[in-house]
Amino acid sequence: MATAAQPKPLQGEPMTVFMGPQHPSTHGVLQVKLYTDGEIVNRAIPNIGFLHRCKEKIGESLEYQAYLPYTDRMDYLGAMNNNWTWALAVEKLCGIEVPERAEYIRVFVGELNRIASHILLLATFGLDMGAWTPLLHCFREREQILDILEELSGGRLCFGYVVPGGVNQDMTPRAMELAKKFIAQFPARLDSLNQLLSFNQIFIKRTANVAIVPREMAIDYGFTGPMLRASGVDWDMRRDETYSIYNKFDFEIPVGEGLKGTVGDCWDRYYQRILEMYQSIKILEQVIEGFPEEGQHKGKVPARLKPPKGGEVYVRTECPRGELGFYMVSDGSNTPYRMKVRGPSFCNLSILEELTKDMFIADLVATLGSFDLVLGEVDR
C-alpha cells in the first residue's frame, strides 16, 4: 500500500508565501497564507472574503421572489440546487404547495446539475494533479447537461429556474430526448474516465493517504455532503431526511471505504463524487420513467408573498457540495427580516488550517482540489 512520504523539517529559513487570490489551484479568489519551511507548510491560514457581496444584507431588502437570481450566484456550479433550497425555504415559510409534475422536474434538473458539478470536480482535480486530458472529456459531457438545462431555463450557468411553487417553464420534449440520449451513454463514458484518471497509479500516489479526515473530525468541523460521506459517515439528506419526492426513487448512498489508502483521504473524496454520479444517473432513469404525462409545472402563488409575523424556518438540502441551509426569519412584511445562508463550502473550508499542518505544498494543492470549493458560496 502506498503511504505518503513524511516530510522532514529542513530547519532552513522560514518563509511566508501568499497563495492566491490569483492562483489556478485555489479555484477562485481564495488566499492561503503559507508559513513554509522549504517544501513543507508549517501553517496554512485561509483568508476569505474577496468575493463577499453582502448577499444576506441584500436578502433583507428584497421581496421574497426577487432574491432568486442571487441564489444562483452563490454556488454557481450547482445553481439549480441553490434555487431549489431557497424555494423550499420560501415555500415552507409561506405555506405554498408544489404540484407533483414540478417536483419531478426539480429532481430532474437537480440531479443533472449534480452530475455537471461533480464532473467539473473530476476535470479540475485532474488538472491540479497534472492530468490535462480528462478535462477535455469532462467538458464534453458537461456540455450535454448544459444543453438540456439551457433548453429548459434559457441559462447555462445561472438558471433562475426553480421558483417558489414550482419551476419557471414546463418540461419540453426536446429536453427529455437530450436527457435520454445523455443517460444512455454517460455511465460508459464515466467508466472510461475511471480508467483514465481514477485508477491511474500516478494519480493515486498523489492523492491516496493525503489529508486524511477521520469521521469524528469531519463531524466536528461540520462537513456535509460528499466530503462527509468520504469520511465514512452514512448520511444523505435525500434518503435520511427526505424532501421533495426522493422517497419515490431507489438509489444507494456510497460511503468512503479507503480503497486506495485510508478512509477520508483525498482519493476517497474524489472517488465519492464518481460513485455519486452513477447514483444520480439511476435517479434520472427513474424520473424519466415515472414522469407524469400531465399536470402543472407551477402551483398558485400570490404575486406578493407575505409570510406571517414571527415565522422562522431552517431548511437544508443536499447540494453537490454538501448541505446548503437557509435560515429565514419573517417579521410579517414582504421582505425577510433575516436571511442566513449556511454554505457547505464555508464549513468545509474551515478545517484547512488544522488539516494542513506539516504538509508538502503539493499536497496542499491536492487537499484544496478535493474540497471542491466554490468561493461564491464561501464568501456569499
Binding site: 453582502c54 468541523y221 424556518v313 474551515s350
Partner: protein, 163 residues
C-alpha cells in the same frame, strides 16, 4: 428524541431558570421551527451537556446565525446528532448595548468560523473565542453591516444624487 423531550431533559438537569422560553412547532398560519431560548450564562454548560450526554449526543453544529431582533441580539444554534438523527435549535439573547455571548468554539470546531462571521457582520462578541477577528470583511472595515442601523458608506453620496 423529540424537541419536547430534549426540553424536559434540559429543564430537569439545569432547573427552570436556565430556560427562558420554549416554542413548539407552529402550524400553517405560524410557520415556525421549534426552539429553546436559553439564559446566556448557561449556554456553554448546556451545549457541553447536549454534546456529551448519551441520550442527546449532538455531535454537529449545523449552523450558527446571528440575528438582530428588535430588543436584543440573538445567536441561534442549529444542532444535529448523527447518532440519534435528531435536531434541536437553541437561542440566546444578548443585550443591544453590549452584545456578548459565550463562545462554543471549544465544543464544536465548526463554531469557530461561524462565530467570526457573526462577529464580523453583526458585532456580537463571542467571549472565549480563540481568534475573534473579521472574516469576510477587511480588518479596517468600520461597523457591522447586518445591523439594522448600519449606514452604507455610499449612503450620503447616493442621497445627494437623488436615490
Amino acid at each position: 428524541m423529540e424537541h419536547l423531550e430534549i426540553f424536559n431533559l434540559l429543564r430537569e438537569k439545569f432547573g427552570e431558570d436556565a430556560i427562558l422560553e420554549h416554542i413548539v412547532s407552529g402550524d400553517e398560519k405560524d410557520p415556525r421551527d421549534p426552539f429553546i431560548l436559553l439564559k446566556t450564562d448557561t449556554l456553554e454548560d448546556v451545549c457541553r451537556f447536549l454534546r456529551d450526554d448519551e441520550r442527546t449526543a449532538f455531535d454537529m453544529l449545523h449552523c450558527l446565525s446571528g440575528v438582530e431582533a428588535p430588543e436584543c441580539f440573538e445567536s441561534v444554534y442549529h444542532l444535529f446528532s448523527f447518532k440519534h438523527k435528531h435536531y434541536v435549535t437553541l437561542k440566546v439573547c444578548a443585550s443591544k448595548s453590549n452584545p456578548s455571548v459565550p463562545s462554543v468554539a471549544s465544543i464544536w470546531s465548526a463554531a469557530n468560523w461561524h462565530e467570526r462571521e457573526s462577529y464580523d457582520l453583526l458585532g456580537i462578541n463571542y467571549e472565549g473565542h480563540p481568534d475573534l477577528t473579521r472574516i469576510l470583511l477587511g480588518d479596517a472595515w468600520e461597523g457591522h453591516p447586518l445591523r439594522k442601523d448600519y449606514k452604507m458608506p455610499e449612503h450620503d453620496r447616493l442621497k445627494e444624487l437623488g436615490f
